[in-house]
């Protein structure tokens, strides 16, 4: 194994591989920063340029670009409340409040470091968990995925402060929005009003662009002030405070990374669900869950560590079974086949050096991304202090272009504008936008997996599937934990008085 680890690294020690890696990372950062575009687009656009080069160099280009998009997406979530991709959504919840409080540099530093640590931990655990990947994949099924989605749903309580009813209404509205289009089970059109455009459903990245970015720009226009006051933006913290935060919360990073790794390994569980689940476990295991949603740095660290580790996990089913762990891995699989790489168990034996080349690419690409990220974070952090006369047209044009670019449909621009208005009104009347998108992300996953579980395992599947039952108990426990802590805190306070 040590030989394979070394051979994998040596395959990357060529000028072509290193140049390709740097090109891939730089390009990935740019794509990631553009709203609505993520790793899938980055790899798809690179595919035509991957023929006739060294295998390791080609993989460095593709995987490097894919990994860099993760942090690129986090940047806009933190600075402008614009998730670069669906999976960066959870970064909005606490990242942007940190920016508003003048801690943008710290948030960016924490985000880049958490993504790096997540990537490294994910890569190391990936290397060691190669022998157990198959049994774990085969042990978990739709009923366990359902539990994972339900776990993500428990986080809505965090964003329902003030009125649980309003929080529930926002979540239900998100679920309703997710039901527009074809039913994933029977193919029956729902809420489509005779429009073929609506038959494909509402694009999630487009809705996010509207709900957050466009709504924030409307708010800014109405308020007539900068997104963040120049004074608070400059004075409050530094990038290295964020770096220290990530190391200070090392146990959270480890937990989130392992979660991200396994979310990546399991096909059918998207990275956006993983980000929300990571956020949920960070909030539910925190001693001060009330800080979440208001600028808690742990709310930035957990999702970024998960996303960093997720990519390595996604490689496993792609390599071990030829089953892509997600859409971007499906495109990567096409590239593998055109390079003569045939996925299967033999990848983990006879082609182990190539597998380790990929693990090394994840490590090196994460390091390069973080170095670039830390170097530019303090400058990026100044962007939200721009005059609104520059900021509003700039952000709006980039976002609406992003909305169009996701599917090339002009209707998506109109939908982004509609969700912008909706997001502004929700914010004004204190209906949580976070709950809306959580409902939207998890609705389909819950619907699919509930239907499959009932069909496969019967009505009492929760009781007949031991892992499912254990996960349900865990969900009940982690959901109750903050309330138990609160009660204890009250009792202690009363006892002291």
């Amino acid at each position: 194994m040590l030989e394979a680890i070394f051979a994998g690294l040596m395959a990357l020690a060529t000028p072509q591989a290193m140049i390709f890696m740097i090109i891939g990372v730089s390009y990935g950062l740019m794509i990631g920063i553009l709203p609505g575009l993520g790793g899938i687009v980055a790899i798809a656009l690179l595919l035509p340029f991957t023929y006739g080069h060294e295998r390791a160099a080609t993989l460095a280009l593709l995987l490097g670009a894919h990994i860099a998009t993760i942090w690129g997406g986090s940047v806009t979530s933190i600075l402008f409340k614009v998730p670069g991709a669906a999976k960066s959504l959870a970064l909005v919840f606490d990242g942007h409040p940190m920016t508003q409080q003048g801690h943008a540099s710290r948030a960016l530093g924490a985000s880049a470091t958490a993504a790096l640590l997540g990537g490294l931990i994910g890569a190391v655990f990936l290397a060691f968990s190669i022998p157990i990947v198959r049994p774990v994949m085969l042990a978990l099924g739709p009923s366990e995925y359902l539990m994972m989605a339900l776990w993500g749903l428990t986080i809505i309580a965090t964003f329902s402060e003030g009125s649980l009813l309003k929080g529930m209404i926002a979540t239900l509205a998100g679920i309703m929005a997710a039901y527009v289009g074809m039913d994933p089970v029977s193919g029956t059109p729902r809420f489509w009003f005779g429009s073929v455009y609506l038959l494909d459903g509402i694009s999630f990245p487009v809705a996010m662009i509207g709900l957050f970015a466009v709504a924030e720009m409307i708010k800014l226009f109405v308020k007539g002030n900068t997104l963040v006051s120049r004074v608070s933006g400059e004075e409050q913290s530094s990038v290295f405070d964020g770096v220290k935060d990530a190391f200070r919360h090392w146990w959270l990073v480890v937990r989130s990374s392992l979660l991200g790794l396994w979310v990546g390994v399991l096909p059918g569980v998207g990275a956006s669900v993983g980000g929300i689940a990571a956020y949920a476990q960070a909030a539910q295991t925190s001693k001060t869950p009330e800080r979440f949603g208001k600028g808690a740095v742990e709310g930035v660290i957990a999702p970024d560590a998960t996303l960093g580790a997720n990519e390595g996990g996604g490689l496993m089913p792609t390599l071990a079974f030829g089953i892509p762990g997600g859409e971007s891995m499906a495109i990567l699989l096409v590239a593998f086949l055109s390079m003569g790489i045939v996925p299967g168990p033999q990848m983990l034996t006879s082609e182990l050096d190539l597998v380790f080349s990929m693990v090394w690419i994840i490590v090196i690409a994460n390091i390069i991304t973080t170095l670039i990220g830390l170097a530019i974070s303090s400058r990026l952090a100044r962007l939200p202090t721009l005059n609104p006369n520059i900021m509003i047209p700039f952000v709006l044009s980039v976002c609406l272009f992003g909305a169009f670019a996701t599917r090339g449909l002009i209707e998506d621009v109109l939908v982004a504008a509609f969700f912008g208005g909706l997001g502004y009104l929700m914010d004004k009347y204190q209906y949580s936008r976070a709950n809306f998108v959580i409902g939207m992300v998890l609705a389909e996953m819950i619907e699919r997996n509930l239907h499959i579980s009932l069909g496969l395992y019967g009505d009492f599947f929760i009781l007949t599937r031991p892992i499912t039952l254990a996960m349900l108990v865990f969900i009940i426990f982690t959901t109750a934990l903050p309330f138990i802590r609160q009660q204890r805190h009250k009792k202690n306070k009363q006892a002291n008085e």
Partner: protein, 346 residues
């Protein structure tokens, strides 16, 4: 009033010249229209890619378009993306286009036919009336079972003492193909819908949650090679050259059932194809069929397709049109089966 009378007089005086002028204008209009309809040479041809911008279909269309231009004499061949409804949006648009050969489309033909046969409310076209111009690529669909399954061949699947569990990602061509197969083979099946793509159904079969699933060879080859799945039946005209021991669905059915299976196989066989609006001008049809055929047999394109990992398996437009005829004939047998399959999951 006097001015109008004057004009009438003027008209009667110059009536002869005006008649000549009117005939000349009409002649020019009619002649130019006929000329435009006759040939696509020197014209701009637009190919509607009815799928996503970065998807496989659009990648095929973009790769082939320059070669259609080369072999057709068209001034340019452009791609217009019209994503939506699994190809329905782009095809709806094409349906109302002028049949002059200047606008054609490229998408998954089985998806269109099934959308129509299953009574999708979004469909505004009649797939049997479209003008088929040629197939770019297809691959056999294959029914695979898990490597650890007790089902070793199609007969084992037919004689199971319980329903054959078929994980499916939705009401796509594989769902309907399995419904028809089960009907004609007298198999009891339980379709579990809602899986998130081929990867998810493959994992369900490997795990043993499902008995078998249908997918394309390219998607299943790596899994079969890895020893995680076993092919038991192909839905193709002939046996697949890499697995000559695996029978085709046509070999295991007899009598009237054969017509239904043949229709399904024909439909799956049409896969990635070019087509035009109904009643496409015969000359434009001929030119486009020849140009598409020549493009798909161009050695340069064949080489490029290998490099891009987009394999070609061309078929002539006339042959594709004949398959549509057979599908229409068999639709009376197929439609009730499709409706029953859909009803079973609702």
């Amino acid at each position: 009033m006097s001015k109008i009378l004057l004009d009438v007089n003027l008209l009667s005086r110059h009536g002869k010249y005006l008649k000549i002028l009117l005939i000349a204008v009409l002649y020019t209009f009619v002649f130019s229209t006929i000329t435009r309809a006759e040939s696509i040479k020197g014209e701009i041809v637009t190919i509607i890619s009815a799928n996503s911008a970065g998807g496989m279909m659009t990648r095929y269309a973009r790769m082939i378009a320059p070669y259609i231009k080369k072999h057709s004499g068209a001034a340019d061949v452009r791609i217009k993306i019209m994503t939506g409804g699994g190809g329905i949006r782009g095809t709806n648009f094409l349906w109302f286009e002028e049949p002059d050969g200047k606008t054609i489309a490229f998408t998954s033909i089985p998806s269109l036919i099934l959308a129509q046969l299953s009574g999708s409310e979004a469909v505004q076209f009649d797939a049997t009336d479209l003008t088929y111009l040629g197939r770019a690529a297809t691959e056999p669909r294959v029914l695979t079972v898990g490597a650890t399954s007790s089902i070793l061949n199609i007969n084992d699947a037919r004689t199971l003492d319980r329903p054959f569990i078929f994980p499916s990602q939705g009401t796509d061509e594989d769902f309907y193909s399995m419904a028809v197969l089960a009907d004609v083979l007298d198999m009891e099946i339980k379709i579990i819908n809602g899986y998130d793509g081929n990867s998810d159904t493959a994992l369900a079969v490997i795990k043993g949650d499902g008995d078998g699933h249908i997918t394309g060879w390219s998607a299943s080859e790596a899994i079969i090679e890895a020893g995680d799945e076993r092919p038991i039946l192909t839905l193709s005209q002939e046996r697949y050259r890499l697995y000559p021991n695996i029978p085709t669905a046509l070999e295991v059915v007899e009598g009237d059932s054969r017509q239904a299976v043949q229709a399904i196989v024909n439909m799956l066989d049409m896969r990635r194809g070019f087509f035009g609006p109904p009643n496409l001008d015969p000359i434009a049809t001929e030119e486009l069929r020849m140009a598409i055929s020549a493009a798909l047999n161009d050695p340069e394109l064949i080489e490029q397709s290998k490099l891009a990992g987009l394999p070609l398996l061309p078929s002539d437009g006339k042959a594709e049109q004949q398959k549509i005829g057979q599908i229409t004939e068999a639709s009376q047998i197929i439609v009730p089966i499709l409706e029953a399959a859909l009803h079973a999951i609702l």
